[in-house]
């Protein structure tokens, strides 16, 4: 497959950019933050729903647009440029993706519909430790005959504070199978501790104390939970890489503009070779980022058996590059770069959180090395 986006995908990217330029400039993030760290603008989310963004990856069989992940990637990249706050990562990238692999057809059809029409928000609760770890699962789903009971604690749940449903990973009593259960966030026995992070976004610690789960609310069947969860993680890693690609480019372009306008010693600071060479190096790193993100997005749509490796390469490379570019962006802005008035700091603060979401660069480089047998 050619490593380029097609005309339809380009149109989606352009229309997304035009929409966000108008409706979600960078100042929106500042406004929501200054309004008690609101998680997102609900009216704006409904407009995104009307644009079809929650239906992009849903198959036609469930009345979705079947536009694929290369398409969703373009939307995420543009949102990354604006650091737009929305439930798209929690509800679409993570939850809708996970649901798409479920064999529970009745629940699947219902959830797809509720996500596509914007009536429900969904979060995935998985992490139990300080670092991303797909294998650390102590939450327990006990079989009580007519239904199940869930016990355990989760942390770093994206948008957990506003979601209607939480998809919770756990193990069964045998300790062998990963179970994926859909839980209503209003259920008895759930308690939330919502925490604002550096990127002005809210992540929840959630504890489950004898929470009842109906049999019909299981998204995993038999032993397919592990496969569904890990496939979801790989796809979501690529989606996060696409979002990072947008943020990286925006921070870089803002910085290049600044170098062309700011004067010191009677000249534009962009004429200094010390800054030019570092800028040129960043340009090269960003070119590499574009290639791996597109390759990995295409691998999702073509069901490429290399997806896991490509996802890790994408997450590792983009994490490292976002760190580099966000640091340089702040440094090259000089004093203004460390003030709250300047937008560039938002990119630095977002970089440090998204870098770690679903595994940081170290995690993914280690994973690639293991896949290559060393």
């Amino acid at each position: 497959m050619a490593l380029i986006i097609n005309e339809e995908q380009q149109m989606l990217k352009t229309s997304t950019k035009e929409f966000l330029d108008l409706k979600s400039p960078l100042s929106s993030l500042r406004d929501l933050r200054d309004n008690s760290y609101k998680t997102h603008d609900k009216d704006l989310w409904m407009e995104m729903v009307e644009m079809g963004w929650t239906a992009l990856t849903v198959p036609e069989k469930y009345n979705g647009l079947n536009f694929g992940y290369v398409g969703l990637g373009q939307v995420l990249e543009e949102m990354g440029r604006k650091l737009t706050l929305s439930p798209i990562v929690s509800t679409v990238l993570l939850s809708s993706t996970l649901i798409s692999f479920s064999k529970n057809e009745i629940l699947k059809a219902k959830l797809f519909q509720e996500i596509m029409n914007g009536s429900k928000l969904v979060s995935l609760a998985h992490e139990e430790g300080v670092h991303h770890n797909p294998n650390m699962l102590n939450s327990l789903l006990s079989n009580k005959g007519e239904g199940y009971v869930l016990n355990g604690s989760k942390n770093f749940v994206i948008d957990g504070s506003v979601s209607d449903y939480i998809i919770v990973s756990s193990i069964d009593e045998s300790g062998l199978n990963t179970m994926l259960a859909l839980v209503d966030s209003k259920s008895d026995g759930i308690s939330f501790n919502n925490k604002v992070h550096m990127d002005s976004r809210t992540y929840s610690d959630i504890s489950f104390n004898n929470v009842k789960v109906e049999k019909s609310h299981l998204l995993s069947q038999g032993d397919d939970g592990d496969f569904i969860l890990n496939k979801t993680f790989d796809i979501a890693r690529v989606g996060l890489a696409a979002e990072m690609l947008g943020s990286i480019q925006e921070a870089f372009e803002m910085t290049m503009s600044y170098l062309k306008e700011r004067e010191q010693f009677g000249v534009k600071i962009g004429s200094f070779q010390a800054l030019q060479h570092r800028s040129a190096i960043m340009f090269g790193e960003i070119e590499l980022c574009k290639s791996i993100v597109l390759k990995a997005l295409q691998a999702i749509d073509s069901d490429d058996s290399n997806l896991a490796k490509l996802a890790s390469l994408a997450k590792a490379k983009l994490g490292m590059t976002f760190k580099l570019v966000s640091n340089e962006a702040v440094q090259m802005h000089g004093g203004i770069g460390v003030t709250d008035d300047a937008d560039v700091g938002f990119f630095l603060k977002r970089a440090r959180v998204i870098q770690r979401t679903l595994g940081d660069s170290n995690y993914h480089l280690d994973r690639v090395a293991k896949m290559n047998n060393y």
Partner: protein
Amino acid sequence: METQVKVDLTSFRMETRKWLEDNCPESMREKLTDPNQVYWGGRKAEFSNKDQKVWFEKMLEKKWIVPYWESKYGGGGLSLEQNNVLNQEMGRLGCRKPHINFGITMLGPAMLKFASEEQKLHYLPQISEAKIRWVQGYSEPNAGSDLANLQTKAEDKGDHFLVTGSKVWTSFGDKGDWIFCLVRTDSSSKHKGVSFLLIDMASEGVTTRPIKLISGNSPFTETFFDSVKVPKENLVGTLNEGWTIAKYLLTHERQMIGGIGDTDKKEYLRDEAIKVLGKNNDILSDTILRSKIAELEMNQEIFDLTIQRTMDEHKAGNSSGAASSFFKYYGTELSIQSEELRLSVNGFNASEWTSKESNNGLQARYFCRTKGHSIEGGTHEVQLNIIAKRILGLPSK
């Protein structure tokens, strides 16, 4: 229509694969360890072994020495897509190039764009039949990074130019038959006084002297021109407009140095590391080296994807992607880092210089050679300047 093209390409791939399997000798599928293992052609050429001769002649017969040139220039007339398929299939088997010549990678593209039809019909078939070995006369003692400062003079003497001066860093200058040269034809303007001239090195007054490098080898020479008569018709393009050709040719040189289009079989540093260092609990025993190798191999893999993406964008009519300066910078940087890590992997053995076991210090000498990669064809710093100014539009003082 599109489907038909795909079908044709698939059958071309199948035919090519079979033909290569049938015709490429086994020893020509082994990784190159020395540039002398390639057939460089030219007047003084000799084959170093029988397989090399067989492989070259098979490919010559197929017109695949320069597969993508038009047949009137001695090429195979393949489309860009077919040529990519051929490269991929050669890469799959690890087939060596049957012939390497700066006439193919540097002069050819410049001739195709700037030479007269008469010149093309004269010079290009000699290249695609490997009859002439070309070398490049660009740098001078006082014109390295500041190439346009070149002083080798070509005086107009009516029916010929009289060339006087010297060039430096001529790759394989002692083995070349002809040299494509930048010469000064007007000293009143720096960039607008340069011309592009083809010179037969057998002409009276041309001499070379080898330059010994830190690797102990001498792949470069100095080249001297002492009142050399050069026919007027050897001028390519317009008089005093040679700088445009020079720059165009440099973009091709950078791609070549960056390794674009190489068909060598991939060899992974990780495999060498596993062999030499061993594993502990399935993990490479030196864990710090392991993370460095993982990062390098990540960048190598993504750099290859970036070459592919740029070619695909080019095919789709969108060439806004990364420029040759970036490929030159990044490609050579990766080879430099790779050789540095290879030294760490191989420990005491890596620095052996003359022993039989080390194949006369192959690794150590190649490590030394890579230090030139970030200098030749425009230093790292010159490439970064070009990216900053031409692509990013950062201001000059």
